[in-house]
Amino acid sequence: MADSVLNLTGPVAKENRVGLSALDYKGGKSTLCAGCGHDAISNQIIRAFYEMSVKPESVAKFSGIGCSSKTPAYFMSRAHGFNAVHGRMPAVATGATLANRKLVSIGVSGDGDSASIGLGQLLHMIRRNISMVYIVENNGVYGLTKGQFSATADEGSQLKNGVINDLPPMDLCALAITCGAGFVARGFAGDPKQMVTMLKAAIAYDGLAFIDVISPCVTFNNHEGSTKSYPYAKEHDEILHQVGFVPSFEPIEIDYEPGEVRDVSLHDGSRVLLKKLEEDYDPGDANQAMTRLHRAVSAGQMLTGIVYLDPAKKSFTSQLGIVDEPLGTLSQDVIRPPKEALDQIMAELM
């Protein structure tokens, strides 16, 4: 597997720009199975927020129900977390982002949570373009209920007990693009470097940043015959491009040949750098993204990288035209109109 990251991030600094150490971003002890892909993702979330110097107190973590949805307890204990009901995390996160638009929100979900019981909420959240990072830790099975197929299981994939899935999988990235997402990526839990870079870009993105991460279930879906196992994913990982990310506070000049790297500026001045690999892929073209995703399915590939990126999309909170201060803490004189207003309304009703 090729190194998927442009060489931009050096060794981890002892202290970030808000004076915190990586330890300040840690969470509780994981209760997931040893070697679970989800834990690898949690580690990259910690690293991304640390390196982006986002104060954990300004972060809100959301999840639904399932193994993946336990993970917000395992990173950034100093951030408020909300483990909602099965499949309904998008609504809760939507409400919270409306109440406090200054929160940096991250949601972690699974393929059962997002592709089955919560598919409707997920798609509507994408359609609204809620400003948050939304990660699906995708392993094709229900873990907590001990290994039933989910809606992202590949056709022909086999359970441990020999049952074969004969329904087609849902491609959440393709669905996200269809519903208007402006940031759609696919990662692999076994590729932490690519993961952390995409996460940092997702944090900087103002809008819904959707990341579908293939995260093998070591207990129920890591055997031969599974198409969401570590060996299968490693073998079939098709990297679209090397992903680089330059946060707004790091004016690093990159040394590259003109035309070799695609440079996309985000709202906050950060830049996403996508270094071409084997093909001329334009992540700003939704049609091409869809075509490429479909082609990957028929070729048995697992495409990773930023599949689609539209930096100009307006987030829901911007569209609503609400005040800059969090709605949740507005003072009484702002949220209760004066007596004259009631008098006027009453007079009109007489």
Binding site: D24, K55, P56, E57, S58, A60, F62, P72, A73, S77, R78, A79, H80, G81, F82, N83, A84, V85, R88, P90, A91, V92, A93, T94, G95, A96, T97, L98, A99, N100, K102, L103, G120, Q121, H124, T317, L320, G321, I322, V323, D324, P326, L327, G328, T329, L330, Q332, V334, I335, R336, P337, K339, A341, L342, D343, I345, M346, L349, M350
Partner: protein
Amino acid sequence: MTNLSDSTVAEERDSAAGERTNDLTIHVATVNGSGSQSSNNVLMRAIFQMGIPVSGKNLFPSNIAGLPTWFTIRASSEGWTGRRRNVDVLVCMNPATGADDVKALNPGAICIFDDALGLEGSRDDVTFYPIPFSKIAGEVTSDSRLRKLIANMVYVGVVAWMIGIDREELVSAVERQFSGKAKAVELNVEAIDKGIAYAADNLEPQVAHRLQRMDKTRGQILIDGNSAAALGAMFGGVTVATWYPITPSSSLCEALIEYLKAYRLADDGKATFAVVQAEDEISAIGMVIGAAWAGARSMTATSGPGISLMTEFAGLGYFAEIPAVVWDIQRIGPSTGLPTRTSQGDLLQVAHLSHGDTEHIVLFPGSVAECFEFAMKALDFAELFQTPVFVLSDLDLGMNSWMSEPFEYPTEPINRGKVLTAEKLKELGGKWGRYLDVDGDGIPWRTLPGTDHPDAAYFTRGSGHNEEARYTEKPEDYVNLMERLRKKFETARGHVPRPVIEREEGARVGLIAFGSSDVAVQEARHVLRRDHDLATSYLRLRALPFTKDLEAFVADHDRIYVIEQNRDGQLRSLIRLELKGDPDLRSILHFDGLPLYARFVVESVVAMEGEKRNG
């Protein structure tokens, strides 16, 4: 085809007999979608402006256009605003229901009808007035589409002339109805004048059914319960409102949007609120829970089917202690039921909405003024008790127009409940527990996401949690939590609105009701006293949990009639659960989808009292 007239076959002749001024019911039968709403509003408004107490009820089908619809206006010099089944003046514009509408009339009633319907002579105890509405409308406009609307305004003029509604009040009501549209005002006034002129030339003014100016509405307002609730929410400081369209609750959120746009923009024109039309009711309450968790005063409004969908989140809100306000504008269930008919059938479900042991604070507004007041209270209670608060209104209260004293501006400041700020956490040295009962009232302290203190955060979950908000499956932790939630509910008992109690000297019979039943029960008590020499005391419940007043009231009476608008006696069941012993609680149940009316209560009480006396 639905025909409401079947259920309005008249038997209530006693109280309507004889000539009485300012005491009549006008029933207008039209085709849904024909634009009669404006005409009916003008009629009602004009009567109101004449100083005569009035109420209006729209009986409409679940349909956009074509099915029958009725509007009933009751003028009552004594101020009774509940439904009355006797119809004195019928306006028949709908060929599909004309014959049945006429059958339902009391002897002595008059029937003004579109002459094409040919209803004359179908009864000899009713006076018929065929009117060439279409022809008269044709004199006002040649536009065939407009002519239908204009014909409706012509009946306003005809009725007004016959029963004595002042023209000047009609004109002022039209100006109000078509505010800012000079052309429409002109056209409609012309239509009314044509109606008046036709009536003056061809008809006789009524003697038995007559209105004349009085002075009983001065200073009063006319408003529907949903608009009142929206106003209350706005003055209660709502900042996030979500909704999914469902009859009969949609008009609450639509009114809220209008009020917020008019009165809640900051100086720079930005909104101090967010309103989201969700993809379904699950999402609507999920957003409310998320927003309230992050500090917003949040609410949603729905009806029965939406309440069913909100069940899981209601349990999360109760168990994880997150504020939320949910208005349930009840309609007939179960299932889709009768979407445009009123009911009090969600009570039992809402009281314990969720799987597992759950009990909710529920408010029962009984008037538009209480819709306003409880909208503010609900937002306060939700944050004060950190729990979902339900407000049970219904279609009759929510969508119909009611007279009221003007609403009073709140005297109490907004109550945000127990929230620890970063400063407060600093004072505490960061030592706190999200679910610790430090004050002994069962209500813990919470922090809001985004609070800038390293110890502010906690993890919210609908799974088992201890006082520090950590995951637990320990039996004692679960029991502790559930006992504290019970304690919190007991604390709420001391805060929720107490019942309104009207005792009558020597009364052995007590009536208990809630919500929109109030107007009919009030009138029934009056009739029971006047016509049956029966004194009753009355307790109107206004909230769950019940307060101690209920037990005392029941103990003080020999027999209690629990009056409610559902089949199963849901309120009576809740009262039975609450009270010790086996008090004599009898049910009076009205559940055909139309609003409760006084005569029904009177006849039920008299029948059961008679049985009691005989037995």
